[in-house]
Amino acid sequence: MIQTENLTKQFGSTLAVERLTLTVEQGEVFGFLGPNGAGKTTTVRMLASLISPTQGRAIVNGFEVGKQDDQIRRSVGVLTETPGLYDNLSAEYNLRIFANLYEVRDPAGQVEKYLRMLGLWERRFEPTATFSKGMKQKLAIARALLHEPKVLFLDEPTAGLDPESARLVRDFIAELRREGRTIFLCTHNLDEADRLCDRIAVFKTRLLVVDTPERLRQRMFGRKVVFHLRNPDEIMVAKIAGLPFVSEARLVDGRLLVTLDDPESRNPEIVRQLVMDGAEIQFVGELRYSLEEVYLRLVRNDSVPADGAAFVLKNGVEKKK
C-alpha cells in the first residue's frame, strides 16, 4: 500500500528525513514512532503529497508521489497534527466543506454517517469552538474519512486527550482496521502503538528499526524467563548458565533471570535441572519488556542490533512489566 525508497527531505540545512525505505502492507496498522523533531510529520506530509521529497521515491496506493499527486490526495485521508477546524462554523458545515472538496458522491449522507458514528450528531449545528479537545479530534478524524480513503495517515491522534477520549479514538482506530483500511499511525504513546499496531517503525531522521512489537522486544532484549526461587545459590545459576540453549543466566534481586530463544520448549528442561539441583521453585514467568524500554534504548543509542541477535545487558537491573 505504501512503499518508499530512499525518501529524503531537506529543509535548507536541516535534514528532516534521510533515506527512508519501508513498505506498509494493505490492511496493516503501521506505527511510526520517534522523538520530537524526528521527521514523522514531514514523512506524512510527503506521503500525502503535501510537500515534495528532496530525493527518493514513494508509491502510495499505487500512485507515485510527485507524479500522481491528485490521485494520491483523492485516495488517502490525513489527520493533521492539529485538528485545524473552522472554529466559527458548525461541525456539520466543517465536514460539508470537505465533502465538497473531496467530491464525495453523497455529501450529506457521508457527513451524517460519520457525525453519528463519532457521537457528534446531536451537536452538529454548534460551532466547533464550543467543542472539547476530544470532540474536535473526533471531528478531524471524521473529516479525514469522508471520502472513504483506503489509506489513512494519523498524526498523533490521541495527543493531548484525556484517557477516556484517547480510548474512544483508539477503539475507533481498531474499528477502522477491521474495515480493512491501511493506517499509518504516528504516535508518542508506546502503549498505544503496542496495542494497535501490527508493525512498528522506530524513526529518528533515519529508520532505526521496523518489526512487530513482539519481535522488537526479542530483538532488543532477547526472551527472558524469571524463576522465583526460595533458595537460590550460585551453583544452580552456573549449572543453568552452562546449558547449551541458554545465552545468559544471572541472579537479580534473588531471582534467577534466564535469557534464551525458545522458552516454550526449553523451560521444562530448566525446571527439571533446577529441581534436580534442589531448588524450590515458587513462580515461573516470562519477563516482558515494555515497548517503552525498547524504544528508549533505540532512540538513545541510535544503534540497531542485527536481526535476531540478543542484546546483552550491561547492568542487570530491569523493570518488570
Binding site: F11, R45, A48, S49, L50, I51, S52, D70, R73, R74, V76, V78, T80, E81, T82, G84, L85, Y86, D87, N88, L89, Y93, I97, F98, N100, L101, Y102, E103, A140, R143, A144
Partner: protein, 262 residues
C-alpha cells in the same frame, strides 16, 4: 468550479462575522455615496445662479454650454468625488482577504485544506473571488445609491446627465473591478507573509496612495480626467492584473503555502 464555490461560501461564512469586514463592506459604501450626495444637497440653492461668473478652465471642461456656471460648479465638485468610489474596490478586498488568509493561518486549517484534491489555483481563485465579489457589489451598490439620490436631488436632467458622464461609468464599472483584482492579489501576497490582519490591511492600504495622488492632482488642476485617461488606466490595470495573477500562480505552490504561510 464546485470547489471554488465551496471555498467562496466558506470564506463568507467565516469572514462576515468580523466587525472590521462588515464595516468595510457596509458602512464604507454608504459613506462614499453620502459624501457627493451631501455636496449636491448643500449646493442645490446655487444651481441656477450665475454668481460664480467665469469658471476656471479646468472646471469648464466638465460642463457643456447649456449649464449655468452654478450647475457647472456642482458637476465639477461631484466629479471630483467620483474618484472616491474607487476607494471601495481597493479597500474592501484587502480587508476580506487579510482576515480570510490570516484566519486560515492562525487556526491551522491550511493543511487539511491542502490535503484535499483542490488545486492551488482553485484555492487562490476561491479566496480571491470571496474578496472580489463583495467589493464589486459594494462599489456598484454605492454608486447605485449615489445615482438614485442625485437623480432625486437634481431637477435638471442635463446636470444629472453631466454627472453620469461615461468616463465615470467606465471608472466605476470597469476600472473598479480591475482595481479590486489588484488589491486582492497584493493583499494575498502580503497576508501570506504577516500574522496580523491589521498590518496586512494597512500595507495594502498603501495602494490608495496613487489614487489620492490622482485625486489631488486633478483637484489642483494638474490634469483633467477624461475618457481616454480612464480607458488608458483600465488597460494599464489589466496588464498589472495579468502580471499579478501569473506571479501568484508561480509563487504559490502547495508546499510554499503550507510551509511559508506563517
Amino acid at each position: 468550479m464546485k470547489k471554488v464555490q465551496t471555498i467562496v461560501l466558506k470564506e463568507w461564512a467565516e469572514v462576515f462575522r468580523n466587525r472590521m469586514v462588515l464595516f468595510s463592506v457596509i458602512f464604507l459604501p454608504l459613506l462614499m455615496a453620502a459624501i457627493p450626495l451631501a455636496i449636491i444637497f448643500a449646493s442645490r440653492g446655487s444651481m441656477t445662479s450665475e454668481q460664480y461668473g467665469e469658471m476656471p478652465a479646468q472646471v469648464e471642461t466638465f460642463c457643456s454650454a447649456e449649464l449655468s456656471s452654478g450647475e457647472c460648479f456642482q458637476v465639477y465638485m461631484v466629479s471630483q468625488f467620483m474618484l472616491m468610489f474607487m476607494i471601495l474596490p481597493l479597500a474592501i478586498p484587502s480587508t476580506i482577504s487579510a482576515y480570510s488568509i490570516i484566519g486560515e493561518k492562525t487556526s491551522r486549517t491550511l493543511e487539511p485544506l491542502l490535503a484535499t484534491p483542490i488545486t492551488t489555483f482553485e484555492l487562490l481563485a476561491g479566496k480571491s473571488l470571496a474578496a472580489l465579489l463583495p467589493a464589486i457589489a459594494a462599489t456598484y451598490l454605492s454608486f447605485g445609491i449615489f445615482s438614485l439620490g442625485s437623480w432625486l436631488l437634481i431637477p435638471n436632467p442635463t446636470v444629472f446627465a453631466a454627472m453620469m458622464d461615461p468616463r465615470w461609468l467606465i471608472a466605476v464599472f470597469l476600472v473598479g473591478p480591475l482595481l479590486s483584482l489588484v488589491s486582492v492579489n497584493v493583499s494575498v501576497m502580503i497576508s501570506s507573509r504577516v500574522t496580523d490582519p491589521r498590518a496586512a490591511e494597512q500595507l495594502t492600504a498603501l495602494l490608495v496612495v496613487p489614487l489620492l495622488a490622482i485625486f489631488f492632482g486633478q483637484f489642483a488642476g494638474f490634469f483633467v480626467i477624461n475618457r481616454e485617461l480612464v480607458l488608458a488606466g483600465a488597460l494599464f490595470l489589466l496588464l498589472i492584473d495579468a502580471i499579478l495573477i501569473f506571479l501568484s500562480t508561480q509563487v504559490f505552490q502547495r508546499e510554499t503555502i503550507l510551509t511559508r504561510w506563517k
